[in-house]
Symmetry: C2
């Protein structure tokens, strides 16, 4: 049956909703695909659900093709498995928690590693049962601090998540590669140019992972790429570490009075004015910036740490958060914040604006033997033999020529700085460019973290219990739909790719001649017989102008106009994307439309 606009539950809007800032959000609401029900929570209207189901079908086909088996787990889950994995705590405010009438704790699952692991544990006991990959397409929940951009960051959303269970690393690698290939096929079928980038795994606790990013200025992720083909999320970029420098001939460090230089900018200016060197001017890259951070440990304890980076770099707290826990011996997730005045006051040896890794070498303030006991972590560029201008831990004093490895030590090396345009790619493939992107998928080698936490072991070929290795593969179904809308629109509305359009063609009947209405009905019926899905604007009292502008807003790829040309035996086929129109004889119209639709699907 055609989608008749005379009946369809639809209202198109002329204006963008007040809360919508990105094109996909604006257009999906204006064209009546979705509607806001609460912050980050959307209703799917008739056209929206059609597009969504088509997208899900493509995902399902490609998951089935790689032998993954579909199941469906509850969204409402008891606390216990998440407590066993440590994520009940780790998620903090980011999940919805609730209690049932008996006071038992539940959550609305944001992802399902624990339940899949327990299910395989329940069912399988032997290496002969493995490998197995399972997936679901399911509603997920996250209590986002800032839901935004419509479907791009919601609190109730649909994901495809799969999990692979293997006994060998080779099998796990094969399952990962199969998912990677499936994702690339899905994006190809959707006509979406998505780039896989190296990623850090963050909260998931994995050992290797890639994100699938759709490059877009409205994306929340930043990634880098080089001409030589290197691509990574900025959080995953590693620094090209310079070789250590022989420091045996370097002069000793000297302390200088540097009044009013509690910023890098004023410090560099003062250095050039009062302590100029012969060969070249001092720059921010010659200074060592010591950034105090506060780390909230898994048990709630607040600890202070200092991160030292070259003065021309900024610290990215999100990157720090990903790995600083390891340096501090944390058992789970940590949160990182900028240090407050209270944090600093509790360590009076640290003088704000003049912090450094210690001048009096027998009593350093910071560093492996530092008097404060504060962990001191440095950027990979701070290699042995590099010489720095840095704080002397006294107001209005800096030390010049402080040499790493000679005059100060550190507790660890950490990737923490904001990656900059022009930084070298770690694989030597040239300078990096930075771009914004929307994360549409994320695939992980999880390793044994969940299998160990939940006791998933099977008998190996020698009859011994072995812990299973896992992979986890997320695909944001509703977010992908939004990304498709971001990628396919113009000033007049949406332009769906044929693979997920709500209909193959949009037939518009214009004019009051009853012969036009009849010809349109005949054409629609003939198209449906051929398996062409039709949206049919049969509204009797709506002007051609409104019908055309609605058709352009709704975004069906091919517009078929039955109107004035009919008197000459012609109808018009119009391509929504290019706007190109073609007159075809009524008699051959079905064949012409079938051909065009087949090429677009």
């Amino acid at each position: 049956m055609p989608l008749r606009l005379s009946d369809l539950f639809l209202r198109t809007l002329r204006d963008n909703p007040a809360d919508a800032e990105v094109a996909s959000h604006q257009l999906l609401v204006r064209a009546g695909y979705i509607r806001r029900a609460a912050p980050g929570v959307y209703s799917w209207l008739p056209l929206g659900i059609k597009v969504l189901r088509k997208l899900e079908a493509i995902v399902r086909e490609e998951m089935d093709r790689i032998g993954a088996q579909e199941i469906h787990l509850p969204a409402l889950l008891p606390k216990e498995p998440y407590e066993a994995s440590g994520r009940w705590e780790d998620y903090g405010d980011n999940i919805f928690r609730l209690q049932d009438r008996k006071g038992a704790d539940y959550l609305l699952a944001p992802t399902h590693e624990e339940l899949f692991t327990l299910l395989v544990k329940d069912f399988y006991t032997s290496y002969k049962d493995l490998p197995v990959s399972l997936y679901q397409i399911q509603t997920k929940y996250r209590d986002e601090a800032r839901p935004r951009a419509g479907l791009l960051r919601g609190r109730e959303f649909i994901m495809k998540d799969s999990y692979s269970f293997c006994l060998s690393e080779e099998d796990q690698r094969a399952a990962y590669d199969a998912h990677r290939a499936a994702y690339l096929r899905i994006f190809e079928r959707l006509g979406l140019e998505v780039v896989p980038v190296d990623a850090v795994s963050g909260a998931m606790g994995g050992s290797a992972s890639e994100e699938f990013l759709f490059p877009s200025s409205v994306g929340e992720d930043t990634f880098v790429e080089s001409d030589g083909g290197y691509r990574a999320n900025v959080e995953a970029v590693t620094t090209v570490v310079p070789a250590a420098i022989d420091h045996s001939d370097l002069p000793p460090a000297e302390v200088h009075h540097t009044p009013g230089t509690n910023t890098i900018e004023t410090l560099v200016a003062a250095a050039n004015e009062n302590h100029a060197r012969a060969d070249r001017a001092w720059t921010a890259a010659d200074t060592l910036k010591n950034v105090v951070i506060a780390v909230v440990m898994p048990d709630g304890e607040r600890r202070v740490a200092v991160i030292a980076v070259p003065g021309d770099r900024d610290v990215d707290l999100k990157r720090v958060e990903a790995t600083v826990g390891e340096h501090l011996g944390a058992a789970g997730e940590v949160t990182v914040e900028a240090a407050t005045s209270e944090d600093l006051e509790s360590h009076p040896l640290l003088v704000r604006g003049y912090i450094g890794p210690g001048l009096e070498l027998e009593h350093p303030v910071l560093g492996a033997e530092g008097a404060t006991g504060i962990p001191y972590l440095v950027d990979p560029r701070v290699v042995s033999g590099t010489s720095w201008i840095t704080g002397a831990n006294h107001r209005d004093q800096h030390v010049f020529g402080l040499v790493a490895g000679r005059d100060f030590t550190w507790d660890g090396v950490i990737e923490s700085v904001v990656v900059k345009e022009g930084d070298p790619a770690p694989d030597g493939s040239g300078p990096l460019r930075t771009r914004r992107g929307i994360e549409l998928g994320h695939i992980f080698h999880l390793g044994k973290r969940y299998a160990e936490a939940l006791g998933l072991q099977v008998l190996d070929v020698n009859g011994k219990l072995a812990t299973v290795t896992m992979g986890s593969y997320g695909f944001g179904v509703t977010r992908v739909l939004a990304a498709i809308a971001e990628a396919n629109n113009d000033e007049r509305g949406l332009v769906w790719p044929g693979s997920i359009a709500p209909a193959d063609v949009h037939v518009v009947a214009t004019g009051k001649d009853p012969a036009i209405g009849e010809a349109a009905e005949t054409l629609v019926a003939a198209l449906e017989v051929e398996g062409i899905s039709v949206m049919f604007d049969d509204r009797p009292k709506v002007s051609p102008g409104v019908k055309f502008s609605d058709a352009e807003l709704l975004g069906v790829p091919t517009l078929v106009v039955v109107g004035r040309g009919l008197a000459d035996g012609m109808i018009e086929l119009k391509d929504r994307r290019s706007g190109e129109a073609e007159q075809v004889p009524v008699d051959g119209a079905v064949t012409a439309i079938v051909e065009r639709v087949s090429s677009l699907r």
Copy 2:
């Protein structure tokens, strides 16, 4: 691709799970279709999800056929619309409530009247837009006090719910009838013999409704039927009201000392012993039983009421709950409980075991002018002129020959008694039989309750604002699946109807001859080409006995055995339901199987 048991994520269980008491629960778990994740919360495994999706597709087809349009609303919803309709309070402990990180109240929706109403209000403004019917197939949540019987009463479950919006009663009647017909078609396609019965609408606040019950001893609903075709939920049965009796010749009432008669049984015995009448013995039906109840009003106030019924009948508090609120002027849902000692103590005129509607006629304790002010509601059988033995409101005293309408009055008439086998059908179609059933669907004329509460009005044909009339139609998808399993099983396992079986045929290869395996593979490939879906037991090291018992447990309707007969060019087709087997030549096997499957689908 066939479902190969060598790969399928499946483990069949020999024994029933400890918590499973009904056949559908036992077998769906044992055959690996579902698995418990929490009380009343289930995971769907590969075979389960296949059956579920087929069932959903049938529901979707029949809803589309009647012109209902599919949408999909969130499960996580803000409090406000439910507060406007009064259901945020009404649901009490029966819904899951939660708060987001900002402390805003949310619920997991048990049903969606409010949101559908608001959506139509958002989109439509004119009578020209109506009627419209919208539906969704969606996960619902209810915090059941006693989740039980697997999928039959869960806390997370799938429902199809639809809503119709009309401006005239005729249109609303047509939408109701269309849904009724669609439900009957769905049940017919599923081979499920379901009976529609009259129902009271309870918490939904409607004016007329029917339930679709599947007769089953494990059902929680009781319905009645007569030979003449009357069918109703017991809660909806109305009493056949006797004609009023002329009481002008009746003797005056007399009080008798009746020590130790605070039960109907002891009262009747004492009456026959000490106050025997000439024509026949006193029975419980001659006494008037006055039952004290406590009604918790919508605002939390606890009120006491008395319900009078013939002494041979029991009061059903659930029936009372459905309508007592109206008598007490309640603005919303009320809860009814048996009265406690405290309730009685607060009304010293009521003497437990000896309560009656007043002896001293100028100062009645109960009734329209009663001194206690307690609402006094009577069974429809208590018509004017009926004469009763009842309490005299003094310890050890009863009054004999107290005549309704002469000696006492009442505040209202209420349907409150437990319907009994043999009661007359209200339509005169004969005595009633009682049966148990599982409620699979429920259709309501909702009237204007939600439209009024949420302000859904459109311009009528005269350009005046008119409030919309609604219908609500529920269909328990996962519960229907369980009912199908209840209706289709034997001691060996499940027996799926062809319309929703996880596969059309189950091919079993037995024996170690490689020719058998090859022939089975060839057959499976040929069947798939013909569009027959195949479950294929290709497990190399599993005995024929285990393969056959698994096949019977899993319940695919047709079993195809490729085994010893192959030497003679024959394979076996076996009907899972009847057990009848047929030998067919390998060469004609595909044709024979296609024919059989077509007849079963």
